[in-house]
Amino acid sequence: MDARDLLDLVWIVPALPALGAAILLLFGRRLGEPKAGWLATGLMALSFAWSVVMLLALRNVTPRTHTVDLFTWFPTGGLQVKMGFLADPLSITFILFVTGVGTLIHVYSLGYMHGDGNFGRFFAFMNLFCASMLVLVLGSSFLVTFLGWEGVGLCSYLLVSFWFQRNSAAVAGKKAFVTTRVGDFGFMVAMFLIFSELGSLNYSAMNAGASKLAAGTATAIALLLFLGAVGKSAQFPLHVWLPDAMEGPTPVSALIHAATMVTAGVFLVARAHPFFEASGGSALTVVSIIGAATALLAATVALIQVDIKRVLAYSTISQLGFMFLALGVGAYAAAIFLVVAHAFYKASLFLGAGSVIHASDDNQDMRTMGGLRKYLPFTALGFIIAWLAISGVPPFAGFWAKDEVLSRAYFAGDYGVWIVGTAAALLTAFYMTRAVWLVFYGNERFEAVDAAEQPEKHGFSLESPTVPAYVPPKPARLTHPPHESPVTMTFPIVALAALAAVGGVLSLPFRSVEFLTQWLEPVFADAPKIDVTSFVAGSTLEGISVVFGLIGLYIAYRIYRQGIPSPEGDPLPERLGVAGRLFQHAYYFDEIIANLVRGPVYRFADWLNRGFDLGIIDGAVNGVATLVRDAGGRLRRVQTGLVRNYALGVVLGAVALLVFLAVRAG
């Protein structure tokens, strides 16, 4: 079979999980607990296997791109959109890690979701998510990508609010969907603009035509697309949904809100880079600034979080900022590299966090943990490797990827961005170290109690996700000592950690071993290259990067090496002072938005409804009716019942008539 014939079957990659989703949605309940999960996991594994086949097939194809059209989706006049898939290095890279990481997280979920009443539904949604994500990255046109884009949004909604009986979960899911929709608005308008300028939404048309566009138009398109990416990838100022999205089950946070979906924005910008390039740099500048700002701000917020998942959430936002930073300086391949590496270590971290939470009766407050290393050895192992990776300690993948990004930024001449990025890297090392020490080292700040005394079991739940205010810690009272998770859970953690450890080999910054960069070369061929001017400069930068990482690591170690004396005894808020409070409230961003929405916006909408719609418009309608009826009532009184009066009417009419005739006769 020819490689291209094989690539024609790329649709099987998303079709497998889609099939799984369909089966599970219809029969998930009947299949029951283990079978539903195994089916979903198995299909994901198959999908991964097929992705590998696709990779091999694509390697035998030149040029490295292949489009498959399944059927016509939009056959309208000049707008012809095919339901088509595009296999090129970029999409294949994505499907590989999506299916790969996805499979592992499916496996993990088998353990994590054990005993949940809606086990089947969970896997249905997970499969559906993977299918959508695969459609997103495989799409041959903006519209198909958008289909997947919205599909992952839907699944994110479904999975965040999976435990919908909790109000906070339901609200968080809605918030996630609506906030990303703001970005989708940009995506849609971008598509309108692309169509009206290029007459097509296909990527091939973009590649051919983008460079011919006026810079202004290209900038507009690029920024609109970036708006979409900002929403999806939780960049400032649309990042607010991601921390709340942690209400979802932890595998969801790992898969969707760390490894895959949130990187869709990165994918989009990478995919649409011709527009960004055609904008003459201005769009890219915006991307890099937003990216850098997000990286730094999110990192500061992560410093002081006490909820383990929230730390990871802000960390994700920050890391995504790095990715955009990379994109903004034109280091597309570096960004993708970071995406992949991040997928490994962040997934591992999340899964580890899930394991911790699982082990300690759904407690997520790090202040009431400590010393868990000995209870959860495998989890700790995975978590610690991933921590080293994210902190930028060589030779783990995070080091290579982050270093690649920062050095590209430096070489591209964006020194400001580089400084901000480096600072963020320092902070990253700090907050991750803090988390590791609070969770796995130091004193144990929990106590086991009898099951009988255990109050109603509740997860650490935010009262209202819109106000992530400081929550006073409750000492965790566990029904039993913390215990290691089953192998279905620990295996993915360790496996991902291992990938995080060695993932750097994908693209080492040495001429002949930049595998990923070279692999992606055809996709970004038209983008200007950033040359590493000298090996020395490169090495120096790497050194600086490592040093900064270690500094952050060390400071955290100094503070937390003994753990904290009591749950309330975290010294950090005090030391940071005003800044601490700012970080704690995530710069009050959520509060401001919430107050805006609840205050003026709500009041305006309420006035629109009650004051304007019911009062003015409907009031006018009813007013006319009343007016007519009143007129009827008044005219009715003319009918006095007196004959003479009636005759008066006749005479009046006659007189009027004669006046009229007299006037006409002149």
Partner: protein
Amino acid sequence: MRDAGFPLLTFIIFTPLAGAVLVAVLPRRRPEVVRAVGYVATAATLGFVGYLLYAFDTSASGYQLVENHPWIDTLGVRYLVGVDGISLFMVALTALLFPIGLIASQTISERLKSYTMWMLVLESALLGVFLSLDLILFFVFFEIVLVPMYFIIAGWGHDRRVYAALKFYLYTALGSAFLLVGLLTLAFLHAQDHALTFDLRTLTVWAPGGLSDGTAKLLFLAFFAAFAVKVPLFPLHTWLPDAHTEAPTAGSVILAGVLLKMGTYGFLRFSLPLFPDASVFFAPMLLVLATIGIIYGAVVAAMQPNLKRLIAYSSVAHLGFVVLGIFALTTQGLEGGVFTMISHGLTTGALFLLVGFLYDRRHTFNISDFGGLWKAAPVFGGIFLAVAFASIGLPGFSGFVGEFLALIGTFIVHRPYAVISAVGVILAAVYLLWAYQRAFTGPADGENATLRDLKVRELTAVVPLLALSLFLGIYPKPVIDRVEPSVRRVICGVERGSDYKEPAVATRRAAVNRDDCAHMNTRELAGR
């Protein structure tokens, strides 16, 4: 054109009426027979419509299966019916929603006989609206629709039904009053030099050139009055929430699914072909109103405490997309408009069904009375959510196809309107998901914790709509292929009758090779 061999359209229009007559003579004490007749009549109609879909010639742009008989000779009024790509799917939608409406009406036992009769009469009338090619015949059906709908609301509605029904009647009747004067004026102006006729095809040929500029504008406004109320366009919409809220379930389904489309259909079928120049002139006004409607409908919907009212206002927003698309005057816009009409019929119809089922269980529409329903009724919650997403316009559902086309079609000629309207896409998610969150998620207590899940009967009503919405969202081609020739005809008519030129980008690679309007002769433009 494949010939049906028998007056298919007449059969379609009058089968439900025959059913109604049959119901009228049935004994009151046999409700099961009454129901059966209702089902058989609507199913038979659906069957005929199925045959129509088969017999429809996909490539033809004109009216097909035309039947033409004299009716009121002294006025030149004829029984003239025909179908084209635009009306085809309106007919299909109507024929589909009625059996479903009857399924949903299974809970009605009071005065079942008259209820069934009115439903069947309503179906006939609506089918007549979409199939008439004679202006008076159209008006007759357009107007008669009010009567059964009025009785259905007033007879089987909720608390404020009398007020709502009356408001509905008067509002819409007032609009159509001007339509009547308008179409009479049109025909008599034509009759100055020609035989008096109300044949749309003849008038379509004459009107664009035959009317003076000012007259055409006035007539456009007269037609506009009727259609805008029906749509309903902001600010003529306030009858809609009341009518919807008070109507029985099937009434709401039909009202939203089909009745509102009479307005937008009227724009497409009459306003554009007859007054192309005035349409172009007034298009900005309509676009503004549509845009306001989209945003306004969504914002006000979000504030509704009543689930049905919420959906009603969402209809205002959805229909805003339709009008937006139509008056964009581009291929994508018009097709988007038509498609949104179909899609809105499916999704909003389904939403009303579900809300009705909820009412059957809990006897309230107040969102605050619900909470956590998903737990007790997983299928209900799941389907409701799916329908809600279909209504939000999630890609993969039909709503997206329609709205996207309408917006993109608008964008290529009037960018600001499309951009502002696209905000409505965000807002749709806000109001529906917020409502869903309050009603279906969170902790459940009291009756909410023991809500019965959907029964098979109820599933039979909803699932086809949802499935169709999904199918059309993924594979809209069968619809668009049939709509496109007719839409092209309308646009070419507008181009011929005005200075307007559709941007090339909209048609560059049109599927039909006759897309070049210059090649369309007058006969074709008239749809003959």
